[in-house]
Each structure stands twice: as C-alpha cells, then as structure tokens.
C-alpha cells in the first residue's frame, strides 16, 4: 500500500511538472492565435487587441497559469480559440478515440509479440526463429510513416477498408451490431499500422527474455523433477521472464502513444493527433497544453499500471521492506 501511494504521489508531481513546462514552452514560442487575424485587413487592430485582452493573452505568464489551473478545477481546462469552446469537451471525444485505437493496438501487438517471441525462443537458431527475426528486421527498417502511407495506398487501391474517419456516412441509422462492425472496419488500418510498427521491438525483447529464462538453472531443476514441458514454459519460464517484459510494457505504451499521433493524422482518425497538430499550427494555446497533458496522463497511467503489475508479479519487490 505504501508503495502504491508513493508511486501515485510521484505521478501527480510529474503531471504538475509537465503542465508547467508545456505552458512555458507554448507561451514562450513566438506568436499567438490572433497573429493570423492581424494579417487580415478587414479586422482592425483594436479588435485584435480587445480579443487578446478578452482571452487574457496580454497578462503575465503566472496569472495565465493560475487562471488555467483554476479552469481545470471547473472542469474546463482552458478555452479553445479555434473551436470557441472550453477545451475539456473537445479533448474528451478525441481522447476516447485515441484510447480506443491505442488500447486495441497494444493488446493485439502484445498478444502477437508473446506468441512469436515464445515460438522464437523455443526454436532458437532453427527455421521459425530465423524467419521471425528476418521479418522483424524488415519491419524495423521501415519508418512508421511509410508503413502507414503504404497501408493507406493498399486500402485505397483495393477498396477493402475505408480510408479515413471513425464512422461512415449514415452511421446513425445502423443497427448496434453494424455500428460495431463499421467502427471496426475504420479502425483496422490505423491499428494494423500501429501494431506493425511496434511489433519488431516487442518480439525481440520477448525472445531475449524468454530464451534467457529457458537457460536458467531453476528451469533445468524443474525439468529434473518431471514437470511437463508446457507447464515449464507457461508457469515457470514466462513468470520468471515477466519482470523485464512488464517494464517493457510500460515503455511500449509510450511508444504506441507517440506512434498513434502520427498514424491518426495519416489515416484521418479523429483522435488527439490531428487535434494537436491543428492546434499547434494555429497557436491554439490551451488545446495544445490540454492535449499534451492528456497524452502524458495516458503515458504515465500506462507506466503506473506496469509498475503495479510488476509489484504483483515479482515477489522480490514486494517483500523488500520499505518498498522501492
């Protein structure tokens, strides 16, 4: 319990730190939302100035930060100039979509990585292992962007998958089952892109962790007691390999999140990615900060989850007095 609370406290501090930093960087970057307007001859400088005052853009940083924190307390998370609405509701929808994508991709990527990695490790040096190594090397070399674009081209040419968006036109009128199918179809492309980009590293690490455990003395000793092969692999080997793999899981959450931003933009998936890109280009300050903060929450949440899993899986951490 102490361990849990300590980690939670660390998470909170991290979020506060990130919010301050993002705020700082965004406001220090030259320009603001209304610069574009200044170029428009139809809008008078006074209007621009008064708009700026209205949104408090002429106040000092600390005041603005305090104002922003205050708005979080009200559940608004600042105000979006472009969308002319509080930031929070915007983020909510987009975040949900990103989560949908990332969680699905994480689950599928890990399921595949475990299967392939274990298969590799148990047939070390032989054909399956070498084939998998070759395939993952090839995937590793291809940049994420190229992968996503390649899949997009495939979708366009073949017409098998919709090439953008979350849902088709006329989504509302579909039956619940068909609604599900529709979303799934739209999700396929971005999920495949994400999974393929994450797979190589995951497979390699699973292979390394499992093959190291397979050589361990306790496995040999257990085999000496007649424990059957399957049980040896799943109950003994995997549990022992869990430690490095769970840490990798925390890391992979971060990697998939950052990858998802890119993939979402390319495949027009309405998640945080496109929103952030737009907001950065338009200097929509509070959307940027809100988006970055939310991504951080997901990242940190994933790592926190990994830490808790590690705590549960590795008794050596648990029984150390005082925790880590």
């Amino acid at each position: 319990m102490r361990y849990f609370l300590r980690r939670l406290a660390q998470v909170v501090f991290l979020l506060i730190g990130v919010s301050i930093l993002t705020f700082l960087f965004s406001t220090l970057a030259p320009g603001n939302y209304f610069d574009e307007m200044k170029l428009n001859p139809q809008i008078s400088p006074e209007t621009v100035a008064s708009l700026r005052a209205q949104y408090q853009l002429d106040r000092p940083i600390l005041v603005r930060y305090a104002g922003w924190v205050n708005s979080i307390a009200h559940g608004e998370m600042g105000f979006s100039f472009a969308y002319n609405s509080p930031v929070a509701p915007l983020l909510r929808v987009r975040a949900r979509n990103t989560l949908l994508l990332t969680v699905t991709a994480t689950l599928i990527a890990w399921a595949l990585a475990l299967a392939l990695g274990i298969w590799s490790a148990t047939s070390l040096g032989r054909l399956p292992d070498r084939a998998i190594s070759w395939a993952t090397s090839a995937l590793l070399v291809i940049p994420d962007l190229v992968l996503a674009l390649g899949l997009l081209i495939l979708a366009v040419r073949s017409g098998w998958f919709p090439t953008g968006g979350l849902v088709s036109v006329g989504f509302e009128s579909l039956s619940p089952l068909n609604k599900l199918r529709d979303v799934a179809m739209h999700m396929t492309l971005p999920v495949v892109a994400l999974v393929l980009s994450a797979l190589p590293i995951l497979v390699r690490h699973v292979r390394a962790a499992v093959s190291e455990v397979l050589d361990a003395p306790f496995l040999r000793a257990a085999a000496g007691h007649g424990i059957p092969r399957r049980r040896l692999l799943y109950r003994y080997a995997l549990r022992a390999a869990a430690n490095p793999l769970i840490s990798l899981f925390g890391f992979s959450v971060g990697a998939l999140l950052s990858g998802s931003l890119l993939v979402e933009v390319v495949t027009s998936w309405p998640g945080l990615g496109p929103l952030l890109v737009e907001a950065i280009l338009a200097r929509d300050l509070y959307v940027v900060i809100g988006g970055v903060l939310l991504s951080t929450v997901f990242l940190v949440g994933g790592n926190f989850l990994a830490d808790m899993m590690l705590y549960w899986a590795d008794p050596r951490i648990r029984t150390e007095p005082g925790g880590r």
Binding site: R316, T319, E320, P321, G322
Partner: protein
C-alpha cells in the same frame, strides 16, 4: 616484536532493514578486539552471519567502522581520510572466495597481475609487465598461460592468479576471505602449500577467514572463533584444537567432517 595489526573495540552496524533475506544480511560487529603478530597466520573461524567478512572489509579499509579503531603498523587507519588511506592500502590486500568473479574476464592473466601497478603508477610499462611475469612464476602459473583470459584457467589457477595480483604491491598483510572454500580438496592443499611457502619467503602476515576448521587448524598459528559479531575464544591453534573452551568452538570442531576421515586414513608421510 611489535604487533602488525591491532583491533580495538571494533563495532560495525549496518543501517537497519536494508537487507531482506535471512541469510543475506551481513553480520554486525559488536566490539572486536585482537592483535596479530607479523609473519604469523591468524584464522578467524565462524559461521555465516558471525561477522567474519564484515571484519575483513573493515580491516581492508573498504568499510568504515561505526566505532573502534584499527591500528596497522603503528598507525590508526580508522582516523585517516581517503587520501592518506591511499598510502596504506597497498600494504593490506584481499583475496576473495570466488576466483571467477574477482578477476576481470576481459583482461589477460598478465594484465590482471600488472593492473595494481598500473593503478598505483609504479614503474614504467615494461617494468610492470616484467614484475607481473615474475609474480606469475612465483605462484606457479606457467608463463605460456600469461596471455590467456581467466575463463581458460581452472579454479585453482584462478586463485593463484588472484594471489599474484594481491602480491603485486608487496603487501604486509594478506586477508584471505574464504579463499580456499570454493576449491576442490586436492587444489585446496596445493594453494595451502603455496600460501605457506609465500609466507616463509616473503614474511607475509595472513588473516585467514574461513568456516572450515580443518584448514584453519592446518594453517594458523592462532585461531579466533567468532559468533554473532564477537570473538568468543582466541588462543594458539594447538590449544583451541586440543582443549576448546566454548560451546561454539566445540560445535564447530564436531561439525568438521575432515577430522573424521583423517581418523580413518593412516597418514603416509
């Protein structure tokens, strides 16, 4: 003859709760006092947790005691700072239990033995290697193996290598922390002979730390029995073997299997 080493009321306690397992916590020291004559061998015998290794580390100046003093060659090493200690360190050397992990696997035998000379910046490169070669010869490692790495040596040879390295800086006191325990019987005998020969020719003083009473009985002039951070009995080896006073000592002697087999086999001199 002036004593080489004198330990007075040495106390070493580790920060509580730093260690988890029953068998892993290093034994604390609760007021150790003894002295050791130059050229002699003092054996510290005890079970794990009795504090023997902690004592070794303190005397080797690798751990700072909580209180008490260690007098080496007339000088209180516990009162010295790091720079002053640098002058003392070469005189006290340690040989560890596991020859495999105490040798750098990426260096050749010659480099391993020359390394202390390199670190202390004594002599030039050529002389360093010459001295290293001489040391290898001294400990009985054939010169054709000088260019090989530790993994090509047997356990006994590795321990010889560790000894050669320890001798590089011409120490006066050699602390042997379970240095023979990981070796086969016949190899233990070889290394024991080597130790005796080095002692008589170089005038070394040994602090032999072991749980093996048989080897202690064979090599030591004096035996100190440790239990739970204290020395419970210390006397000349003959006396401890013939007439042990404390229960701990008697238990250790009774638990030494070598004494039983020796009774079976008539010694062929």
């Amino acid at each position: 003859m002036q004593e080489l080493l004198r330990v007075e009321n040495l106390v070493k306690r580790y920060a509580a709760k730093k260690y988890r397992a029953a068998g892993e916590a290093p034994g604390a020291l609760e007021g150790i006092s003894f002295s050791s004559q130059p050229g002699a061998t003092l054996a510290l015998v005890g079970e794990s947790g009795s504090g023997k290794s902690t004592l070794a580390l303190c005397i080797a100046c690798l751990e700072r005691p909580t209180s008490g003093s260690i007098w080496f060659d007339g000088c209180d090493v516990t009162a010295l700072d790091e720079t002053q200690l640098r002058a003392v360190r070469p005189k006290i050397q340690l040989v560890f239990q596991d020859p495999a992990s105490s040798l750098n696997p990426r260096l050749t035998a010659l480099e391993i033995v020359a390394e202390p000379l390199l670190i202390q910046r004594r002599f030039d490169k050529r002389e360093q290697f010459e001295k290293a070669r001489a040391l290898l010869d001294r400990v009985g490692i054939p010169l054709e193996k000088a260019g090989q790495k530790p993994d090509e040596f047997s356990g006994g040879q590795r321990q010889r290598l560790a000894l050669a390295r320890a001798l590089a800086l011409e120490p006066r006191l050699l602390i042997l922390d379970e240095s023979l325990s990981a070796l086969d019987c016949s190899v233990q005998a070889q290394i024991a002979n080597l130790l005796l020969e080095l002692q008589s020719s170089l005038g070394l003083t040994y602090l032999l730390i072991t749980h093996d009473f048989a080897m202690a009985a064979h090599l030591a002039d004096e035996i100190a029995v440790m239990d739970q951070g204290r020395i419970v009995e210390m006397a000349a080896a003959e006396k401890v073997l013939r007439a042990p006073e404390r229960e701990v000592t008697r238990r250790l002697i009774a638990a030494t299997p070598e004494f039983r087999v020796a009774a079976l086999t008539p010694k062929v001199v």
